[in-house]
């Protein structure tokens, strides 16, 4: 898999390359900054507009292109919070339940598998590893119909189990791959030393390797958070009961029922729904950037 190995090479030189010497004359440097700032502004404008619109009265939203609200209206948040069947925090809590269990599941199952692939010897290891890499490229929709049938026969429709349980079965090969790369970089002597001190494989994993893998686990946790928080297709398929809606489903229901008139409240709830992602992004940038540079995660 030359395809996947190359981006991984980046990991070897993990430490941020030192700031290169500045190039160009002050003039070209200035124009570069000017262009980059303009591009950045264009990129951020939709988000800024969304945030500012959430503070405008619905009637003003499409009349003013400006970002600064002329009439501040905080009632959008209150109205939006109570516009659906349940107050909005119910949907936030629903999403949070799915996210927390998905994170726990991904971290444990993927770390276990990664430890076996990275640091243990057993028959079939290479074959299984190749199989694991193969599933990286498998489009999920191929499995969709049979998985749906299995979940419905288990009576799991309208529960969060179809969204959570697969994460406990190391089905996310990206995270296994990321952790394998990370664990391979740890010195082999660690396992030997732990073994001599009487640790079995599981204790070695739990006490020696896991604590050293905190950065890789943080990356996994943040990516799981963001993808699960945004996840629309799974909940759309498995959750019919409105009281169990996750945030994306709730927003979609909002748009369908009120989207033609209550722009302000809808934008307010949109802001509420993306705020955790932006928060996690700001808090965990380092791990995110390392993660995509290492395993090509999105």
């Amino acid at each position: 898999m030359a395809l996947l190995e190359l981006p991984v090479k980046n990991k070897q030189k993990k430490e941020e390359a030192p700031e290169d010497a500045l190039t160009g004359t002050p003039g070209t440097r200035f124009s570069r900054h000017l262009i980059l700032c303009l591009v950045g502004l264009v990129m951020l404008y939709p988000l800024l507009w969304l945030i500012s619109s959430s503070f405008k009265p619905s009637n003003d939203i499409f009349r003013q292109l400006g970002l600064w609200p002329e009439n501040w209206d905080f009632s959008n948040y209150e109205q939006g919070w109570n516009a659906l069947n349940q107050p909005f925090h119910v949907y936030l809590i629903n999403s949070l339940i799915v996210v927390v269990f998905s994170i726990i599941g991904n971290i444990f199952s993927c770390a276990l598998a990664a430890y076996a692939f990275a640091r243990m010897e057993f028959t079939g290891r290479k074959l299984f590893f190749a199989l694991m890499l193969g599933t990286l490229m498998l489009p999920g929709h191929v499995l969709l119909v049979p998985q749906y049938i299995i979940f419905s026969q288990l009576g799991w429709l309208d529960t969060y189990l179809p969204l959570i349980v697969p994460n406990f079965m190391a089905t996310n090969a990206f995270f296994i791959f990321l952790m394998v790369q990370f664990m391979k970089a740890l010195p082999k002597e660690l396992d030997d030393a732990a073994q001599i001190d009487g640790c079995g494989p599981f204790r070695t994993f739990l006490r020696v390797i896991m604590p050293l893998c905190i950065p890789a686990m943080a990356t996994t946790a943040i990516f799981t958070f963001i993808s699960t928080w945004n996840e629309f297709f799974g909940p759309l398929l498995y959750i019919q009961n409105q009281d169990l809606y996750t945030v994306p489903l709730a927003l979609r229901a909002f748009m369908d029922s009120e989207g033609q008139s209550m722009w302000g409240p809808m934008f307010a709830m949109s802001v509420v729904s993306i705020a955790p992602i932006i928060g996690f992004f700001i808090a965990g940038q380092k791990y995110l950037i390392n993660g995509i540079a290492t395993a090509g995660l999105k």
């Binding site: 395809l3 570069r32 599933t135 049979p146 079995g200 297709f233 709830m269």
Partner: protein, 317 residues
């Protein structure tokens, strides 16, 4: 991160020292075997949960399964029906246009911005974050909804065009323009390939450029002769991942059109149609056949890319 590894190796050296000279011991090969499989237990379960549905869906593709009655084997009927299904052909067209327009554009922009950012700028990490943030949000319902209003009749795009006296079209409701709003959305998320490019560019040794400029090579020539070959594996990687991802677009089409793929099927992405067939019309045999067609399309494009890569991707081994 490197600090941790250093600490770890220090600890390991300290721990290993007294053991020197003792004969190599440790659990027998058999226990090691067993615990290897034990660690993989969740993964084995996951593989079962992948492999069984994989073959089940292959089987269902040749049946008329509808979730309520027993499946009957119908041979190639689903595949024949697909090629006579105008909505299916439309969904392929939408998905292809989306992929082959937005992937090259967003990769081009990603590479260009990465090149500029790699030229030694103060504030690199701020720019990188600002450009990267949209790619975390592009798949969220909130942003696709926002896009609907940005491109709405009296949305900010038409407002902006109005400053120049241009009467913008009804982007969202005109079949000719609806897909283009989603192309823009996809290009907006160029940040994640950009970060991968940037990581790759940082690995190119600066001495190559120094040597080249001593020899009098122009910037353009340096880019062609040094940068491009050395990051070609990364271009290749990004291309494959973006293609695979964009063939499977769903949320954007669904939210933009309220689940219909409209107006006039102009945002009917392949997976959206698959969803409609399988889960609103319950033609699950047909939906399985569609899934396999998509798998084959993706496999073919990936294979073409791998073969073509022999001619343009440079591996420095």
């Amino acid at each position: 991160m490197s600090v941790l590894t250093k600490q770890a190796s220090g600890a390991a050296a300290a721990l290993a020292a007294p053991a020197r000279g003792t004969p190599k011991r440790g659990p027998s090969r058999r226990t090691n075997q067993r615990s290897g499989y034990l660690f993989l237990l969740p993964w084995f379960l996951g593989m079962l949960f992948t492999i069984i549905p994989f073959f089940a869906s292959l089987y269902l593709a040749f049946t008329d399964y509808n979730l309520f009655t027993e499946p009957n084997f119908v041979g190639l009927a689903n595949f024949q029906a697909m090629f006579e299904d105008p909505r299916l052909l439309q969904s392929l067209k939408v998905t292809f246009i989306y992929t082959f327009v937005s992937v090259p554009i967003s990769l081009g922009i990603a590479l260009l911005v990465a090149l500029v950012l790699n030229r030694g700028l103060s504030g690199l990490s701020i720019y990188r974050s600002v450009y990267y943030l949209p790619s975390l949000l592009g798949g969220s319902v909130a942003i696709v909804m926002l896009w609907r209003y940005i491109f709405g009749n009296d949305g900010i795009v038409n407002g902006f065009l109005g400053w120049f006296g241009i009467q913008g079209p009804a982007w969202v409701t005109d079949p000719e323009f609806a897909l283009s709003t989603l192309l823009v959305l996809n290009v907006w998320t160029f940040g994640s390939p950009m970060v991968i490019f940037l990581a790759g560019l940082r690995q190119v040794p600066t001495m190559y450029y120094e040597a080249a400029s001593i020899d009098g090579a122009s910037k353009w020539r340096q880019f062609r002769a040094i940068t491009l070959p050395l990051i070609s594996p990364i271009i290749f990687f990004n291309l494959i991942m973006q293609l695979i991802g964009s063939f499977q677009t769903f949320t954007q089409g669904y939210v933009m059109s309220g689940g219909t793929g409209g107006p006039a099927d102009s945002t009917l992405f392949y997976n959206l149609y698959l969803y409609q067939k399988g889960f609103t019309e319950f033609e699950m045999g047909y939906a399985s056949a569609m899934a396999w067609l998509l798998l084959m399309i993706i496999a073919i494009f990936t294979a073409i890319n791998f073969i073509a890569s022999k001619f343009w991707v440079f591996y420095d081994n």
